[in-house]
């Protein structure tokens, strides 16, 4: 089971609250990229992009590796799974509720049909 705590989630959600950073993650889903590539793609300065990558790296969404003079960024898989697990738990609660609600709704429907038949008799 995935372990997490609240302060980790704070950092994660703060990292995801920025449109550029979400764009960077989307970009990295498609493949690894250097900070220079990303800066160009998002029309930013190298310094600006470095800051965004720093936030994502701190939250564990991205890992970077320096190869020669190029710093390459890739997705940090573990943290994405944690995030998904948090939403998944929330979904499971509502899913269980709604399955039970389905049954209640079905019963009301049957009762109404029954009443209607009786009225027609």
């Amino acid at each position: 089971m995935v372990q997490y705590n609240r302060s980790d989630l704070d950092v994660s959600f703060a990292a995801l609250s920025d449109a550029t950073r979400r764009g960077v993650l989307e970009q990295l889903w498609r493949g690894d990229a250097s900070i220079t590539d990303l800066a160009e793609k998002f029309h930013m300065t190298l310094t600006g992009m470095k800051k965004h990558i720093g936030v994502l790296e701190q939250a564990g969404f991205v890992t970077t590796k320096k190869l020669g003079r190029v710093r390459t960024c890739k997705l940090g898989q573990r943290r994405l799974e944690e995030e998904a697990a948090w939403i998944d738990k929330y979904r499971k609660l509502w899913d269980a509720r709604f399955d039970a609600l389905d049954q209640v709704v079905e019963e009301i429907k049957q009762e109404e049909k029954h009443d209607e038949r009786n009225r027609k008799k």
């Binding site: 959600f13 499971k92 399955d99 389905d102 709704v105």
Partner: protein
């Protein structure tokens, strides 16, 4: 079973979706095979509501359920859990009620409680339910989102721990 079916993704058999729309909002959707007035009824009559709001998997018992579903009316739910010495209460006020299409309520048990809006949209005999939770701040969402969820999670972890330790709780 082939490799594709073994994928780790949770199957979405019933179509409940959850999306974090922004840092203050969560949206849950689900379609029900019934007209809106029936789904609305199940949300507003206490004797029906209490039959589905606390699924068994939550490990909690609903002790009482008072719903006064009209604008300005209030609600109060009290839960018991084997690991909690006192009942846990959830309460608030209905801010807007438009049968059979919309219910808005506050969650007043904590300071950073959300405003919850549920809409029922009928199409060809089916009802699309959209539940929207808006928190006063991002911090409030992180602290409170799925309180009952987080709580039941905490309790089940505590249960496991107690079983592992072979002890029972004595308050």
């Amino acid at each position: 079973m082939n490799a594709i079916e073994k994928s780790e993704h949770t199957p979405m058999k019933s179509g409940t979706t959850v999306e974090r729309k922004s840092d203050r909002e969560i949206v849950v959707t689900r379609t029900f095979d019934a007209p809106a007035r029936i789904v609305f009824e199940a949300w507003t009559k206490p004797e029906l509501f209490r039959r589905w709001w606390v699924p068994k998997s939550m490990g909690m018992t609903l002790l009482s359920c008072e719903l006064d579903v009209r604008v300005g009316g209030g609600y109060r739910l009290e839960f018991a859990h084997p690991s909690a010495s006192e009942p846990i209460a959830f309460f608030g006020k209905y801010l807007d009620v438009i049968p059979p299409s919309r219910i808005v309520w506050s969650n007043d048990e904590t300071d950073g409680g959300a405003i919850t809006t549920v809409t029922f949209e009928e199409k060809a005999g089916k009802t699309l339910l959209v539940l929207h939770e808006l928190y006063p701040s991002k911090e409030a969402l992180d602290a409170n989102a799925g309180m009952e969820n987080a709580m039941s999670e905490t309790f089940s972890q505590l249960d496991e721990l107690l079983v592992a330790l072979g002890v029972t709780v004595r308050q």
